[in-house]
Amino acid sequence: MADEALFQFLHNEVIQYIYKSSEHGEMENGRCITKLENMGFRVGQGLIERFTKDTARFKDELDVMKFICKDFWTCVFKKQIDNLRTNHQGIYVLQDNKFRLLTQLSAGKQYLEHAPKVRKHNGGKLTCQALFIPGQLSPHEWFSLPLSLQYLAFTCGLVRGGLSNLGVKSIVTAEVSVMPACKFQVMIQKM
């Protein structure tokens, strides 16, 4: 579908632009990821306003998450989330086995080969959780992060913005194990 390609191209260009226009010092702090995430946040707020205009009121948090997994994901990425898991205590994991924004990236090992250098975060899984806390990553670690995480920052912001407009405060992080599958972890913050 032509309109999908348009957004993918735009998304790629936005990421390139943000990285090119940042200075060397900024890249070490993960500010680029934060910028992408904030953009996604604002877009998510507007999108949710439009998508929930005609839906019934949500009963509870689980209802909101189901809406994000089904209707919201379908409207934005033309498919649903494949798997939603929760521990019923405010943590939800959304798994997408074929994430649209990653399908065009090579699935080869070249982008994951630096994984051992970030192994100390979370026992071998690549996450961008540390990026949301400024100053936690050293420059060495930053440059060894796979490129695919940059491509997930906007979507993390999208989910966070959508949830925030529905009255749910959260932190959203993303994880890539096997391309193009990825998991988004949503941690609900109690007010």
Partner: protein
């Protein structure tokens, strides 16, 4: 209050008095700023505006009550339109809450009986539609007061139409 004198053929003189008290306001329940502060208030006519502000503020309690009751009630309570909140001696207050927790309140003069439920519903729908447009405007920061001309003109048109 406007008073219009109409002279009918014959000896009768009919006098119509026509009051256009009406207020529309959008109130946001926000997480970062103090809750339930108003994003937009407009009323016609402009005198007695403070009384309208007060009415809107007190009606927010009723709105909150209705929203929290949804959890216990069943599917028919899941509409966004809340209907007549409560009738005071002079005014009727209608409420509407969006899924993004923005509350719209319309206060109408009781003597204006020509406004039916359907019309109020359609007014709320128009408000919601144009609020969605404001929200999608990238230059608008959520939580600011609404200064969009398009939103303004929709509200003014509604006030004129309702009077």
């Amino acid at each position: 209050m406007h008073q219009v004198r109409l002279q009918i053929k014959g000896s009768d003189v009919a006098r119509y008095s026509y009051s256009i008290h009406m207020q529309i306001s959008a109130v946001l329940q926000s997480w970062s700023k103090p809750k339930n502060y108003p994003l937009f208030i407009r009323s016609v006519p402009i005198q007695n505006e403070l009384k309208f502000h007060y009415t809107v503020h007190t009606s927010l309690d009723v709105v909150e009550e209705k929203i929290s009751a949804v959890g216990k009630a069943m599917a028919d309570q899941r509409e966004l339109y809340l209907g007549l909140l409560y009738p005071t001696e002079d005014y009727k207050v209608y409420g509407y809450v969006t899924n993004s927790k923005v509350k719209f309140v319309i206060v109408v003069d009781s003597s204006n009986t020509s406004l039916r439920d359907n019309e109020i519903r359609s007014m709320f729908r128009k408000l919601h539609n144009s609020f969605t447009d404001v929200m999608c405007n990238p230059f608008y920061n959520p939580g600011d007061t609404i200064q969009s001309k398009a939103f303004d003109s929709i509200v003014s048109a509604m006030m004129v139409q309702a009077s």
